[in-house]
């Protein structure tokens, strides 16, 4: 062989790593319209939820104080979104409604992840009878549509936001168990897992470092989209009277509130409905681009 041997291969022309998460986030945000819209919606929503008492024109009404003489007013400069059957400013209530929506969906998704992901990882990594047992348990839950299951559970527990959250966690965790099991199973065979073992890494460390970090992308993408879905589900439960109870400002409850008079006082249901729609849209858009941000292999 006449080539110069033992000379290192040439480096790629752009001799620079594509960098960490913040760099990728910046790049994706600069390039993708969907990312910009999704991120703006969510940032705005969080901001609104945090500053609701300052932002709302009628904070007391946002918390539920009635002003009966001013009821059923159409949108005007005084009440941008109009008022409801008890005379409360709908804009203020939509603003305050961001709090239970974000809070509950965040708690539900986090709890579902905390229960489902470790179980799924153990099932997928260990296999055998443990896997069989855990997966048959998830099958039990997955046999019912999640919303239906949540309705049944929260009806059994009695209507309250707290119970609705429990019901949603119970019907949501198996999806995370399934997802993380599938990801773990494909990773278990990966050569780099064997490599880690060859270099003396302990099994729990392999699970916690190598498997978990490699499953974060699909799981977090799923979680982001689920945040929206859970808001929708909480809304549905509230609409049915199975979650938040009056006078709490809850978008689902507010939509239900205006349901009977939607022909005449359309604003009562419409504005909270739009709030739900925009929020779900925001989480979905964000979930779509999150993959590019989390995965180092993307976008180089």
């Amino acid at each position: 062989m006449s080539v110069t041997l033992d000379s290192p291969e040439q480096l790629p022309p752009a001799y620079r790593s594509t960098g960490g998460i913040s760099r990728r986030a910046y790049r994706v945000l600069r390039r993708e319209r969907a990312a910009q819209v999704g991120a703006s919606i969510i940032v705005l929503l969080v901001f609104v939820a945090l500053t609701a008492p300052i932002l709302a024109p009628y904070p007391a009404q946002g918390r539920g104080v009635a002003d009966v003489p001013a009821r059923d007013l159409a949108p005007s400069w005084q009440h941008l979104f109009g008022t409801d059957h008890l005379g409360r400013d709908i804009l203020s209530r939509v603003i305050f409604g961001a709090r239970p929506a974000l809070g509950v969906s965040l708690v539900v998704v986090l709890m579902a992840m905390l229960i489902g992901v470790p179980l799924g990882m153990i099932a997928g990594y260990r296999g055998g009878w443990l896997d069989e047992t855990l997966m048959r348990i998830t099958d039990l839950f997955l046999a019912f549509p999640p919303l239906l299951l949540a309705i049944v559970i929260s009806a059994l527990l009695g209507p309250s936001l707290y119970h609705a959250a429990i019901a949603l966690v119970i019907s949501w965790w198996p999806w995370y168990a399934r997802l993380s099991r599938t990801v773990t199973q494909s990773l278990r065979q990966a050569p780099f897992i064997d490599a880690a073992r060859v270099f003396g890494v302990r099994e729990p460390v392999i699970l916690a470092r190598h498997v978990l970090r490699n499953s974060t992308t699909p799981i977090l993408v799923q979680a982001t989209v689920d945040l929206g879905t859970v808001i929708l589900a909480v809304g549905a439960l509230a609409f049915l009277g199975l979650a938040s109870q009056p006078p709490l400002a809850d978008w689902g409850l507010m939509v239900a509130d205006g349901r009977e008079t939607i022909q005449t006082e359309w604003w009562i249901s419409t504005f909270p409905g739009i709030a739900i729609f925009v929020t779900v849209l925001g989480f979905n858009l964000l979930g779509d681009v999150l993959r590019d941000v989390l995965d180092p292999r993307s976008g180089s």
Binding site: M1, P8, E9, S17, P191, A195, R213, N214, P296
Partner: protein, 322 residues
């Protein structure tokens, strides 16, 4: 040369639902001396990789190994998981066939190499970083300080294999198992990697267990060669001697099949037939059905591995006729 690694009558069985489905290794005996490079060659399925994996106890769950693998006087097959972990990556390490998939894609290369160092050497953050940088430099990667911060997919196959070697030698092991380390690379890069391995071996004096199906490659690199066939060693000897005068028809057939030795224009000779996979040993030599020199004796009695002169051993009734 004192033995660093001694494999004695290693047998590996695969079973399914409590029934043995195959005898993958049927009594492999091999030794690697301190600082010695031993090549293990053979066709696919003859047990090369399995032998390597057995040394690190990396066999799949449904495999069962018996026999003895002594390393530094200790039987590796009898170690507790804890003792095993301290040997893996520390005293014995491994370089894999496909560097592209042997690194975790979500961590930087330097981070992963550093983990091995800090685990086995107990080095602090600063020291680990310095050691990783030094080792990356030692394997011939330019600008090690910036290569460290690269993710695996940002490096070429050759660079990754160098990084893999860095990971394997960072704790100064006394034995390196190289499982076809150049198969995934193109020819020129493969030569560079082999040169690198040889240079490192000279400098650090570790023993090498080199698994390959390419006799040419192995003969370039190794002091001794062991030829495996159907789960058994059928010939061992000094590299140049084994190549000059193979004493087993299987080794000779492998040599004849090398592209470098064929006549230009003629089609490459192959070894006809396939490796036997039957569960139970048929009587006689396992190579008999494919052997051009087969006799009645070969079909009835399995030849033992015997010395055919100055440390050269072969398992063939007709080794004297070769």
């Amino acid at each position: 040369m004192s033995a660093l690694l001694e494999i004695d009558d290693l047998r590996v069985d695969f079973s399914r639902d409590g029934r043995v489905t195959s005898h993958a290794l049927r009594g492999v005996s091999l030794a690697v001396g301190v600082g010695e490079a031993v090549g293990v060659v053979g066709e696919t399925g003859c047990g090369k990789t399995l032998t390597g994996l057995s040394v690190l106890r990396m066999l799949p769950d449904n495999a069962h190994a018996t026999g003895r693998i002594s390393f530094d006087g200790r039987n590796l097959l009898g170690l507790s998981p804890r003792e095993l972990r301290s040997i893996r990556g520390g005293r014995i390490s491994m370089v894999f066939q496909s560097p592209g998939t042997s690194f975790n894609p979500v961590f930087t290369v330097g981070h992963q190499i550093g983990l091995v160092a800090s685990k086995h050497l107990g080095t602090g953050k600063k020291e680990t970083e310095r050691l990783v940088s030094e080792t990356l430099h030692a394997v011939g990667l330019p600008n090690p300080d910036s290569v460290m911060r690269f993710y695996p997919h940002e490096l070429s196959g050759g660079m990754l294999q160098r990084a893999m070697i860095a990971m394997a030698i960072i704790c100064r092991p006394s034995l390196l198992i190289a499982d076809e380390p150049t198969t995934a690379l193109d020819v020129t890069i493969a030569q560079q990697i082999l040169r690198l391995l040889r240079r490192l071996q000279r400098e650090q004096g570790f023993g090498v267990f080199f698994i390959s199906h390419d006799l040419d490659l192995v003969s370039d690199f190794c002091d001794r060669i062991a030829v495996l066939y159907a789960g058994r060693v059928i010939e061992t000897g000094k590299a140049e001697e084994l190549l000059r005068r193979p004493r087993h028809p299987y080794t000779r057939a492998l040599l004849e099949a090398l592209p470098g030795r064929a006549e230009p224009g003629a089609s490459l000779p192959t070894v006809p037939g396939t490796v036997p996979t039957e569960l139970d040993d048929a009587p006689g030599c396992p190579f008999a059905p494919r052997c051009p020199l087969v006799t009645e004796l070969c079909r009835q009695e399995r030849p033992p591995l015997v010395d055919v002169g100055s440390g050269h051993t072969a398992a063939c009734h007709r080794s004297d006729d070769l």
